[in-house]
């Protein structure tokens, strides 16, 4: 099982970790820095793109299962 590269490639994508939303304690004051306005740095690495594709198909698959 461990020698199958497909198994390793699939399990090492880390989709579960990527989908977990991180909640940060942001200051609600008027003078607090607005972090939301900053453009998010998006990685364009092939691995990240593959992760996006897999997540998209998985979502469609889950919707298919749910009906």
């Amino acid at each position: 099982m461990d020698i199958n590269p497909a198994y390793k490639a699939y399990t090492n994508l880390g989709i579960a970790e990527a989908t977990v939303e991180t909640t940060s304690n942001k200051g609600m004051g008027l003078l607090s820095p607005m972090r939301n306005n900053r453009p998010k740095e998006k990685s364009d690495e092939p691995r990240d793109r593959v992760r996006q594709y897999v997540a998209r198909i998985r979502k469609a698959r889950e919707q298919l299962k749910d009906g």
Partner: protein, 171 residues
Amino acid sequence: MAKLPSEILDYPIPGQGMTAEVGSRPWQNPPQYTTVEQALEFYIPRLVSDDVYESLLDSMELGIPLTVMADSMQSTAVMQGLHTIDVGILAMPVIIEMLAYIGDDAGIEYNLGMDKPIDEDKISDTKIALAIKRMREKLPEELDKRDDVTEEPESMEEDVPQPSGLMARRV
């Protein structure tokens, strides 16, 4: 274990894989698809095409893990010079997910290939059958003799209910 001469002659000659001229093999030439997206544009329409779709469903019903199927697909494409191994490795998770989607869509129970490793202490039926076959090849006479000997079943005493009265006869 001594092997048959014909079996030995079937082996490749050491270094045979390097005898072809460089560039004569498909995988020694520049690949056709250089990015993951290009490779997926090749794979995904093929997965849902009529000729491949049915055989995919058959393989899933047979219990072939999706990881194995995806791996063999990309290995074949690498051998054909369609893409590099790197692109194949990157494309594999998407192929697996797409296969799972096809299986779900068709309502087939498939094996994703993510199960826990098989318990090594348990010997598989295939290994046992192979060992018996080898034994049969090695010692055909002894095994045939054993097969001829039919064990007589032990005579089982039937449980007849014994009369329990004071005046009952004892057998």
